[in-house]
């Protein structure tokens, strides 16, 4: 790259070997055969929250081959134009960043978004994420502050934006940000031709061959649509409406998995933090060694019966 002095220089230009593949070699079998799939099937999802030590809240989501990691930091004092001029009632700001790892797609993306395609597409998706997450977050509780959400797509196996949205809302919940509801994202795509059906949770191959695609974001408990991003050619409006309905149904089906994930993360956090301030909580959980001092102090302050209930742990660390 001519002007980029901050990175190690490579060749000026390079081509992926897939351009020169021998005829008849379909590059890499994608999950599942080309035809004959249930149009409303959702790939099994693995979600885990609270895995990064340096971020306030974090979440990792894996759906099929799509792998996305999201971290939340803040609230921080808002910087930029809004800082001084914002009125007291302006509420907080949500800053979203979406980036793809260079090795996430079939072609390597040059880091830095120097190429117009990579840079603008990522910015569009980041904006879509921000618009979808804003209705769920109680920004009014963070005046003059900003929350930073960064999503990193490690591997693109289809429905990247939907996965990023879901991961971002899990990360926000894990960070303890006040929210009205979790945001669940779901993507659909439709092949070319008048008889093509809308496919829920498309894989990368299906998205590449699609003539139209749409991503919906839903607040499941409130049953409100938080965001919608779609484009392409899919016939009349009724077809789009059917797609949105299918997408919302997909989101509802995904919600219990996310609930379980957040519960597990909360339990893990509780165990790691050691005993709570109340003596009942202190007796119920075994204090970790590092917190033995805190436990002793809390027990002594709370009263004699607390000391009686956990005598062995009261000894010095």
């Amino acid at each position: 790259m001519p002007g980029d002095h901050r990175r190690i220089r490579g060749p000026e230009e390079s081509q992926p070997p897939s351009l020169y593949a021998l005829p008849g070699q379909e590059d890499d079998d994608d999950e599942g055969a080309a035809g004959a799939r249930d149009p409303a099937r959702l790939r099994p999802v693995y979600a885990r929250a609270g895995l990064l030590s340096q971020a306030k809240g974090s979440a990792y989501l894996e759906a099929g081959r799509t792998k996305v990691l999201c971290a939340v930091s803040g609230p921080r004092p808002a910087e930029g134009e809004r800082a001084g001029a914002a009125a007291a009632g302006a509420g907080g700001r949500l800053v979203c960043d979406f980036r793809r790892a260079p090795f996430s797609g079939p072609r390597r993306r040059r880091p830095g978004g120097a190429g117009a395609g990579g840079g603008t597409e990522e910015r569009e998706l980041a904006l879509a994420m921000q618009e979808a997450l804003e209705p769920a977050v109680r920004l009014g509780r963070y005046p003059r502050a900003q929350l930073e959400v960064s999503a990193l797509l490690l591997e693109d196996g289809g429905s990247a934006l939907a996965a990023a949205l879901t991961a971002a809302s899990l990360a926000l919940a894990d960070a303890g940000v006040e929210m009205y509801d979790v945001v669940v994202g779901c993507a659909l795509s439709r092949g070319a031709g008048p008889d093509a059906a809308w496919l829920l949770d498309p894989t990368r191959r299906e998205e590449e061959r699609a003539a139209a695609g749409i991503t919906v974001a839903l607040l499941p408990v409130l049953n409100q649509v938080a965001g919608l991003l779609g484009s392409g050619e899919a016939g009349e409006a009724e077809s789009w409406a059917a797609a949105v309905r299918l997408g919302l149904e997909g989101c509802q089906r995904l919600y219990p998995v996310l609930q379980q994930c957040l519960l597990r993360a909360a339990r893990r956090r509780g165990e790691a933090a050691g005993p709570g301030p109340t003596p009942a909580a202190a007796a119920a959980r075994t204090p970790s060694e590092a917190d033995a001092a805190a436990a002793a102090a809390a027990a002594a302050a709370a009263g004699a019966d607390a000391v009686a209930r956990d005598p062995p742990e009261d000894s010095e660390a």
């Binding site: 980029d4 901050r6 990175r7 190690i8 220089r9 490579g10 060749p11 000026e12 230009e13 390079s14 081509q15 992926p16 070997p17 897939s18 020169y20 593949a21 021998l22 070699q25 590059d27 890499d28 990064l52 030590s53 340096q54 971020a55 974090s58 081959r65 792998k67 990691l69 999201c70 971290a71 930091s73 960043d97 980036r99 790892a101 260079p102 090795f103 996430s104 797609g105 079939p106 390597r108 880091p111 830095g112 930073e148 960064s150 990193l152 490690l154 591997e155 693109d156 196996g157 001092a293 805190a294 102090a297």
Partner: protein, 276 residues
């Protein structure tokens, strides 16, 4: 109470532990954090590895592409490393072009590749003067808790061992390349450079594998890269307090021991991933 002291006087808090020859997280001065490695998880990359050193997490993805060989050495390919420290790994990094720390890490990895000759660049040449492989090694730090250089070198090595390149032939008549994706072969990895990092406290005390807080409080850092024959590939000491020759020797012997541990770990992992 301990937490309060730690916030107000972090250095004193650390010194109390160092006097007892241990560290706040319970480790000895010469002990490493738990190292875990996971290879081949990113299917879109030609080779990938995820390394966790305690909390520090680095993922490396290698993508191979075609390019014309460099004009000054027509029989060599390219290996292009790139270390990315995104805002999600730590709140001190901003989004945008690579900052100083990322550039230093990228240059360090490039030096390690060059000095250790981990891959002979001639092996990457397909057709003299016309076509060669470019290996783009992208390292992304997912969680920054100190000792990024060790994790990056290890991730790079593991990812390169995981890379499988398709067989390429040049068609005589058309002069174009023909790639056969069904026939894949591993790279020829000549050496295994493993890095060991140390932090220097108060100009005298050396601790191994510093966490983020320890790096912040240290007066200097040192990274030693060894290969399996006990040969030194690279020594990285960016300023900081001085070290005597004897201390440097100690560091190098510690690095040799570390090399054996990591080599064993990597062999186990690669063995377990092999298709039966």
């Amino acid at each position: 109470m301990a937490a309060g002291f730690k916030t107000v006087e972090p250095l004193e808090y650390y010194r109390r532990f160092l006097k007892e020859n241990c560290r706040p997280d319970g480790r000895e001065l010469g002990e490493f954090r738990t190292t875990t490695i996971n290879i081949g998880s990113i299917t879109t990359a030609d080779g990938s590895a995820l390394v966790k050193l305690g909390n520090t997490t680095v993922i490396c993805g290698v993508k191979a592409e075609f390019a014309a060989p460099p004009v000054d050495s027509l029989n060599k390919g390219y290996i292009v490393p790139n270390v990315d420290l995104p805002p999600l790994c730590s709140s001190r990094f901003r989004s945008g072009p690579p900052g100083e720390e990322a550039q230093v890490a990228s240059q360090f990895i490039a030096d390690v590749i060059e000095n250790s000759q981990i891959i002979q660049k001639e092996d990457l040449c397909i057709s003299h003067g016309k076509l060669a492989w470019v290996l783009y090694c992208d390292l992304i730090c997912l969680d920054y808790d100190g000792n990024i250089l060790d994790a990056c070198t290890f991730a790079l090595l593991a990812a390169l061992k995981n890379v499988q390149l398709p067989a390429v032939t040049i068609n005589e008549e058309t002069g174009l390349a023909e790639v056969n994706f069904k026939k894949k072969s591993h790279l020829n990895i000549r050496t295994h450079p493993i890095a060991t990092s140390f932090a220097i406290f108060d100009d005298t005390l050396l601790i191994v594998d510093p966490t983020g807080e320890e790096e912040h409080l240290a007066t200097g850092t040192l990274t030693v890269v060894m290969d399996e024959e006990g040969k030194l590939c690279c020594l990285h000491k960016p300023g900081g307090s001085g070290l005597t020759g004897a201390k440097l020797q100690d560091c190098m012997s510690r690095a040799v021991t570390r090399h054996k541990e990591i080599n064993k770990l990597m062999d186990e992992v690669i063995e377990s991933v092999k298709p039966k």
